[in-house]
């Protein structure tokens, strides 16, 4: 007979988001089942052996595995156990409320029922097919995360002489890692006019080793039979089209791609969870509750974060909210939300959350500081002001709810605003009529204004 399990909260994924969610849900008194596809918890942190994690959460620089161990320790001390090498094949909403997941693990198939679901499924790397690299399809083209897995987990060297396409953080980290392991890294090519990675990684991963970064440049073709023998690079124009006559052939046996990450939301889509086209993750309220009641999401599944610390923070929130939802039971007044839109206004690439639950904000027992995560849509090197304005029309002229000033903003560097619940009183709104909402507007400060 098929195994059946029932619990309050199911968490999908045991990376930093999932374990934080599981721990906070358990601390809130919920029964939790964590489903993890791999054989160990920790998610991508297992292969991120470099340090720089945990400065915000733990006040010190930890390596990825060290950060993951802290999550695992806390989870273990709460009596948590993840179902490992287990994955969900399909998910459905039950008519009576709650969810049923069809799962498979080493013991075979099983059905898992819960009142609430936390999606902590992380993100995936964009591949060469998705960035239109043309030419042959020889061995030797790897995403940065795959190269990282090969070197750090499997102990395999991807090649001898590498070109990196893109300047995302993992690509920069891998430029250093491959160099330390004895590979020659010829250079990194970024199609955009500005680097995608954090400034400190440009410094400590490229500059430290004399690896050049070519901006407004890309790889247009891959050459080789069984193995990569070289690539063609070219400069690109403002529309990212290769400029004829600027092609250069480089000899290499490895092409590493660091061209972006996409939140993983196949399961969310199958449950009908609406996504934000800007983040490619579910639209969530400040409690990480998606637009499908009972489905919560956190971490890189919601938007691609720069820092694991923020991933954990969103997991904490999703877990405690999911526990409260599950324990409240069907028909509880605390389950009724009054959602109001929070939109990305001019100068703002995106903002998470995309919705504010005014009912939770108004409830003294539940109202808590709200974390807003955003990126600017362009580099504002001489300073910037982020202003949350009432009303969601573009260029909203509504009242300023809160304002933060920055010395500089760059799209690759995510910012976080911790807003007191009282500052977000954008009311009145009913579920059917979402109300005026608010929008986050980001404006540069010109040097002469300082």
């Amino acid at each position: 007979m098929i195994r059946r399990l029932e619990t309050d909260v199911v968490v999908l994924g045991a990376g930093p988001a999932g374990l934080a969610a599981a721990c906070s849900a358990m601390e809130a008194g919920a029964r939790v089942v964590v489903v993890e596809r791999e054989e160990r918890t920790g998610g991508i942190l297992k292969q991120c052996i470099h340090d720089g994690f945990g400065l915000l959460r733990y006040g010190r620089q930890l390596s990825g595995p060290e950060y993951a161990l802290r999550d695992a320790d806390r989870f273990g001390s709460l009596g948590g156990r993840a179902m490992l090498e287990a994955f969900v094949t399909s998910a459905s909403r039950l008519e009576a409320g709650g969810f049923e997941l069809a799962c498979v693990d080493r013991g075979g198939a099983f059905l898992l029922r819960s009142a609430a679901l936390v999606l902590a499924t992380g993100c995936r790397e964009r591949t060469d097919r998705q960035v239109f690299v043309h030419g042959d399809r020889p061995a030797g083209v790897f995403t940065a995360g795959l190269a990282q897995y090969m070197i750090n987990v499997q102990g395999l060297l991807p090649g001898r002489r590498a070109v990196i396409l893109g300047s995302g953080d993992i690509g920069l980290i891998m430029a250093r890692r491959m160099t330390l392991e004895g590979m020659e890294v010829i250079g990194a090519y970024e199609a955009k006019p500005e680097p995608s990675g954090l400034s400190r990684n440009l410094r400590q991963c490229l500059d430290d080793y004399g690896i050049p970064l070519a901006l407004s440049s890309t790889v247009t073709a891959v050459h080789g039979g069984r193995r990569v023998e070289g690539v063609t690079t070219a400069r690109v124009d403002g529309a990212m089209r290769p400029i004829p006559g600027t092609e250069r052939d480089l000899s290499c046996d490895t092409l590493v791609l660091s061209v972006g990450l996409i939140p993983e939301n196949e399961l969310a889509k199958s449950l009908g969870v609406p996504l934000d086209p800007r983040t490619r993750g579910p639209r969530v309220d400040q409690n990480m509750h998606t637009l499908v009641d009972g489905v919560f999401a956190c971490g890189n599944a919601v938007h691609v974060n720069d820092l694991a610390d923020y991933v954990s923070e969103s997991g904490e929130r999703a877990g405690s909210s999911a526990a409260a939802y599950a324990l409240a039971g069907p028909g509880s007044p605390s389950r009724v939300r009054r959602l109001s839109p929070l939109s990305a206004g001019p100068g703002c690439l995106y903002v998470v959350p995309q919705l504010l639950d005014l009912a939770a904000l108004a409830d003294v027992a539940r109202a808590d500081d709200v974390c807003l995560y955003f990126r600017s849509s362009s580099t504002m090197a001489s300073g910037a002001v982020a202003r949350l304005a009432a009303g969601d029309a573009p260029g909203a002229g509504g009242a300023t709810l809160l304002e933060r000033r920055y010395r500089a903003l760059r799209p690759p560097e995510m910012e976080r605003i911790k807003a007191p619940a009282g500052s977000l009183a954008v009311g009145p709104a009913r579920p059917a009529e979402p109300g005026p909402g608010a929008s986050l507007i980001v404006e540069p400060i010109e040097p002469e204004d300082r």
């Binding site: 052996i49 750090n152 430290d208």
Partner: protein, 123 residues
């Protein structure tokens, strides 16, 4: 004769742009948002130091590599030498995070420590 250097601080993700004036043995740092940046900038301008993170080989486990780090900083210019010195290191389970897997790297007084647990039950 003073020298002026523009540096990007690596102490945290903020990545402050530092200006360091080196005059004789004295370094004056500006542009830092916190005290760590001042300390880092002054050191960086005269002798860059880095924490090394890498892996060592594993025997007696289904896992192939164990992540490790130097438990202090070592000169940037010696990182590749340190990698050579670490190359022959092999560990067997059990190893716990923080255990020293190689001591006194290159005679620099810095140990190499495990940053993950490698226990017997790992398949």
């Amino acid at each position: 004769m003073s020298e002026r250097k523009e540096l990007t601080c690596i102490e945290c993700p903020r990545g402050c742009r530092l200006t360091v004036e080196v005059d004789g043995g004295r370094a004056t740092v500006s542009g830092n948002a916190c005290p760590k940046g001042a300390v880092w900038g002054a050191q960086e301008a005269v002798a860059p130091m880095r924490t090394l993170t890498t892996t060592v080989a594993v025997e007696g486990s289904a896992r192939k590599r164990l992540p490790v780090r130097s438990d202090g900083t070592i000169p940037l210019a010696r990182l590749l030498d340190a990698m050579e010195a670490i190359d022959p290191v092999v560990v067997r389970p059990p190893v716990r995070r923080g255990d020293v897997v190689a001591s006194d790297l290159l005679g620099l007084g810095v140990d190499l420590v495990a940053t993950d647990d490698l226990l017997g039950e790992d398949r």
